[in-house]
Subunit: 716 residues, 2 copies
């Protein structure tokens, strides 16, 4: 028995802190379990009462004359601690602490919470909460409403995990209004022990759960979460996971030493996690329900096996009895990344034979306002059979001849003969309700407005793309990890945390980046000789630990074409630097070969506690800040993720032979993104960095680091 079974499907429950006073949490939760028709045995524990709601009470959990699977604890922190001790002694398998007053109120609460967690872990007992709404399992063989919501949802196929107790009640109300059922429902509160990842794993194995919804405020695991959830959302028996995450707009960008640091933020981290793990992020609770109901639909194979209705392509057929909603559906279809299917001649012929002259036979098919269920059935059957159609939206608006129930029956008849998804939009709430009810009871999602149906179809298609994504063989990369480590150690020992180009280039070179020959000249003639050696034209830059923004100090000269120009530039740069900052210690002037032409891109990284390094790629140079055309991923990533990442920016178009421009070396780009990931994983001392610009040359000509900035920090 999985330890979490004791929490969701206990055969006996003790409510420790059950109260006789209505309105108190300890009373209400007990009442909710009792009146919810719980299928197991229920014991109130209260030393001061003979009975609670007529059920004989026990003075302590130890006194309960039976095994107890689950202890529901509704007691203030110190008394909760004792109750846990006794519960463990009693041999309970799971504990839910509903009460608040722990970590969230301060130090003392945190200490008690930590002790409780340690005790539970040692005893092998799983703990939900504290500070949560409780647990609900509406399935008929359990019917446990161990929560302080009086409302027990209908049984269904969706499991819901909420980090906010307050939202739970609203969601349950909302679900009741939409006839929406759940398989499991849990509020995780402080998630001192059981967290969303434990639950994702558990629900993934749960045969009653077909879709998982999460309301999330924060995660406490990063790369581990990604790896585990990727398996859940796209492994051998995939379960779609939908999340609504609050905290979408963080506070304004904090002061950061790099572009990457300035553009990243916790939202970039979360979006990366969701993207890399295949979690579908939704924008609102409405959308959460819309998508979840679309994902829960299934069809049966001829052998009686149930399969999920996921489209294999993005070609949608629309059948409607009204023009306006058809247009709305078309709009949202296209802006959801789908396309309108083009019907075969045969399909058009079949449609023509069944529909009146005024009907529109092309997509969207308009069966006209006076359509009865027959016309819907013929039209839907014809388009869904078309090989060029991956699924259908059926729109019904109530008009004088409309038979909502008959049409619903017709839709189900057609749907029974196909595995393609069919999403319905019955507009209006009251007049169409018999049809809506008929469809919902049979597991077909019905939406109120065509936008919602089209958007949900878009989510289904996106998920199908995730499931069927291609996997390239990994790159075979070897890095000189040791050399980079030496440079970094050396700098840190000298107290140097902002690496200049000399050291930065050395680190990057160890990971396969092409850097420009760069040498330090201490006088004008040495500079000229170095330039001669590397070949003209060259760039010269001041080198001083006190001057970080070299351009501002007049410390950069470009395109120097001969030895004389180099000599003059040396003097001028040193002069400017002295004027800029009279006490600057000037090491000399860097002489660097000028890079060949290329597109400016930015590669960078910034590091977050818990989550680790967040990689950034984007269109570089000054545009990075203006257009913010960037993509993020949490390291480590490999070739496939690097490809998806680089291709996801708008500016990628410029690299693909756009408007007669040469095609850029995107292969190298993908290799370098993976190398960067390897580098920041190997060297936790790199706390923030930019390569901006990385000059991406023509296909076959690689890429060159034109400037870089690496900031080190001794990891704690």
């Amino acid at each position: 028995m999985d330890k979490l079974d004791a929490i969701f499907s206990p055969s006996s429950v003790a409510v420790v802190g059950a109260s006789t006073t209505p309105g108190k949490v300890g009373h209400d939760i007990f009442a909710n379990i009792l009146r919810g028709n719980y299928q197991g045995v229920l014991y109130p524990v209260n030393p001061g009462a003979r009975s609670v709601l007529s059920v004989p009470a026990y003075p302590s959990i130890e006194a309960v004359p039976d095994e107890v699977d689950l202890a529901m604890i509704i007691l203030p922190p110190k008394r909760a601690l004792n109750a846990i001790e006794e519960s463990i002694e009693k041999g309970v398998k799971g504990v839910v602490i509903v009460s608040a007053g722990f970590r969230e109120v301060g130090d003392e609460g945190r200490k008690i919470e930590d002790r409780i967690v340690a005790m539970c872990r040692e005893a092998g007992v799983r703990l939900v909460g504290p500070n949560c709404l409780g647990v609900i399992n509406p399935m008929d063989d359990v019917r446990l409403n161990a929560s302080f919501s009086t409302r027990m949802p209908e049984p269904g196929q969706i499991s819901f995990i909420s980090q906010s107790g307050a939202l739970c009640t609203a969601v349950l109300d909302f679900a009741a209004d939409r006839d929406f059922g759940f398989s499991k429902f849990i509020s995780i509160g402080n998630k001192a022990d059981v967290d969303e990842l434990d639950l994702l794993r558990y629900f993934h194995e749960d045969m009653d759960t077909r879709v998982i919804m999460i309301y999330l405020e924060e995660l406490r695991r990063g790369p581990e979460f990604i790896e585990a959830v990727k398996e859940i959302t796209s492994g051998s028996r995939p379960t779609p996971v939908m999340v609504i995450k609050s905290g979408r707009t963080g506070p304004g960008a904090k002061a950061a030493a790099s572009h990457t640091g300035a553009l990243a933020g916790s939202e970039a981290v979360y979006d990366s996690i969701f993207q890399q793990s295949g979690i579908i992020r939704v924008a609102s609770i409405d959308e959460l329900f819309d998508f979840a109901s679309a994902f829960a639909t299934k069809s049966e194979t001829s052998l009686g096996k149930v399969r999920r209705r996921i489209p294999t392509g993005n070609r949608v057929a629309i059948v409607t009895n009204a023009g306006g909603p058809g247009i709305v559906a078309t709009d949202m279809t296209i802006s959801s990344g789908l396309q309108l299917a083009k019907f075969s001649d045969e399909t058009i012929e079949v449609l023509d034979s069944h529909l009146p002259d005024t009907a529109n036979l092309n997509n969207p098919v308009d069966v006209i306002g006076d359509a009865s269920q027959d016309r819907y059935e013929h039209a839907l059957a014809a388009v869904i059979r078309d090989e060029g159609v991956d699924g259908a939206l059926v729109i019904l608006t109530p008009q004088s001849m409309t038979n909502a129930l008959g049409t619903a029956e017709a839709i189900v008849r057609v749907a029974n003969r196909t595995h393609k998804p069919i999403l319905c939009c019955f507009m209006g709430i009251i007049d169409v309700s018999p049809g809506v009810k008929y469809l919902q009871e049979r597991g077909y999602p019905v939406f109120r407005f065509p936008e919602q149906a089209a958007k949900a179809f878009g989510a289904l298609y996106k998920y199908s793309q995730w499931l069927s994504r291609q996997h390239l063989a990994q790159f075979d990369l070897t890095h000189d990890k040791e050399r980079a480590g030496d440079v970094i150690r050396d700098c840190l020992e000298k107290g140097k945390t902002h690496l200049g180009e000399l050291e930065g280039n050395a680190v990057l070179e160890s990971y396969g980046f092409t850097v420009l020959p760069t040498r330090l000249a201490e006088n004008r003639d040495e500079a000229a000789d170095l330039a001669q050696e590397m070949g003209f034209p060259v760039v010269m830059k001041i080198s001083s630990g006190q001057i970080l923004h070299k351009s501002d100090a007049g410390g950069v000269k470009l395109k120097l074409a001969d030895a004389e120009a180099v000599r003059d530039a040396f003097d001028e740069i040193v002069e400017n630097a002295k004027n800029f900052k009279s006490d600057a210690v000037i090491d000399g002037v860097l002489v660097q070969k000028m890079a060949g032409p290329g597109d400016e891109v930015i590669l960078g990284c910034t590091r977050y506690p818990v989550f680790g390094p967040l990689l950034m790629f984007g269109y570089g140079g000054v545009f990075v800040e203006v257009f913010q055309d960037v993509a993020f991923r949490l390291a480590p990533i490999k070739r496939n993720e690097a490809r998806r990442m680089t291709r996801s920016i708008k500016g990628y178009k410029l690299f693909t032979g756009f408007r007669g421009r040469p095609e850029a070396d995107t292969d190298i780009l993908e290799r370098l993104v993976v190398s960067l990931s390897d580098m920041v994983m190997d060297h936790p001392e790199i706390s923030e960095m930019d390569i901006n610009p990385l000059l991406l040359h023509e296909k076959g000509k690689g890429a060159t680091v034109a400037d870089c900035r690496i900031i080190l920090k001794q990891p704690e």
Copy 2:
């Protein structure tokens, strides 16, 4: 009496085509008027029936022994035409044709429709429809449900105009579900006569209407619409107008001869119209209702005058009894263009004195889960009094101590003492309903989820910005319209529709654009002389009517620094051109002075039937296609609109002294946008054009046309 009064508030109605057969439109509409408790006199007209639903019937409208204000016509086209004739003779003031079968089914129907319109116009009778759902006026003194919806909405303050009959029923159902009332409700169908602009003007004058909602599929008036609606939305007694427009994603970009043509499209036209006229575009019907209810709220001044609750700034205070929803509200507040208010010390002190220790006194204020109405009242009163607060969101989640009704009463008490908007979010549908009802009945909007409330507040703020926008004095521009006209006429006479740089520059110069000295050289020495005259460096470009893409032909040479280089370039360009296209007629080679440095922007125009010239401004060069950072406006525009337009693109940041770059000459930019508008208004022959790039120089140094393309078409 306004002619439309006869349609919305007739004192007598004749239903021509009233039927005795239930289920027929002619029966149902008659029944709906009769049973809807219409306050006027109702006459069924049906030559074959003695009575309809017990009401004595008349064989024709002429036979009705009374004046008839409104004739509802439910007859097929040809019989409708006769009925209109008789109705006009009878002296009706308004006509609604519900039946379909006109313009929308083909030529014959269109002809009948046109004749009906001509007859009505001549008689001074207004016509609604054909092919519409009808008209509803739920206000108590009229109570007219002249539609085929059995549902009569509650009276309210919002008027609704729908171009789609089918959507009407859905919207009425939806409204009933949300206790949403209407002042007027109309389906305009084919809008053969009465269209949305007539109705906007009428509802704007209507004392019962506070907000207008439109479901729109297409407009048939452009600049006139903008001017009229601008006055409605921001004139002396402004009425907010909200639109949901379908057809959001058009078909893929059509082949266009300019960047502007390729990037524009009907959506750009509509967005321009809405922006320029102050119409608020919403994304879904849900949002339409959310915003409309926020805009309908009002407060009373001490003199008993009603005013709309519109915030004067964007600083929002949030009061909540749960953390999670507070975070969600904060997120949406910020992403809706608002900010969280910072409270004064005094406010914090007052909050501190009323709230428990665990409460959060900073914004969002958390009054804690066990808050009663008192705590809400104190907290809301304190924050709304703060001068740094422009409005509030109040969030309530049902928890054990929550008193939804009591809290609603407290909110109304506070709201009665302020003009600042207070939007409420009572989460959950059933448990909080007494509070929701109390608020709604008093005209306070209540939302289900905090996102919606915050978004609606964002819309209120955006509207307040529109109302209080600044007006600069207009530019005093003089153009050489005649010279430009001569050039254009000359080209058209020669059959030249694609203007090259010589003619294009001449046209642009006449409108105050700075162009580069450009001369045609017929041989290498002439080229060198011309270059010498204008000063080095120069650019050279092939001039041939057969070579449009000069770069592809090797026909462009840049940065030529001396006479010798110019001579060589001449030969090379001619040679390349001959190789590229052996039969090309080569006029010679253009010699052009090289422009100084500047930011590349694009200015352009493309022309639409009905709507006229659509102007485009954006970040130029190759980026225009990749980032599509462009803004559109329908011409004519003046200085203020030019300013809003230029400032609305992301790349504008680059012109304002970004990252040490010089500030660009944005004053000139605004002047040039206005000049462009003047130019395309003056010369309807310009069908499409790009100036790309226009080089925008440093402040005070103007802008230079570096390349242009003008396409002419003889206007029809």
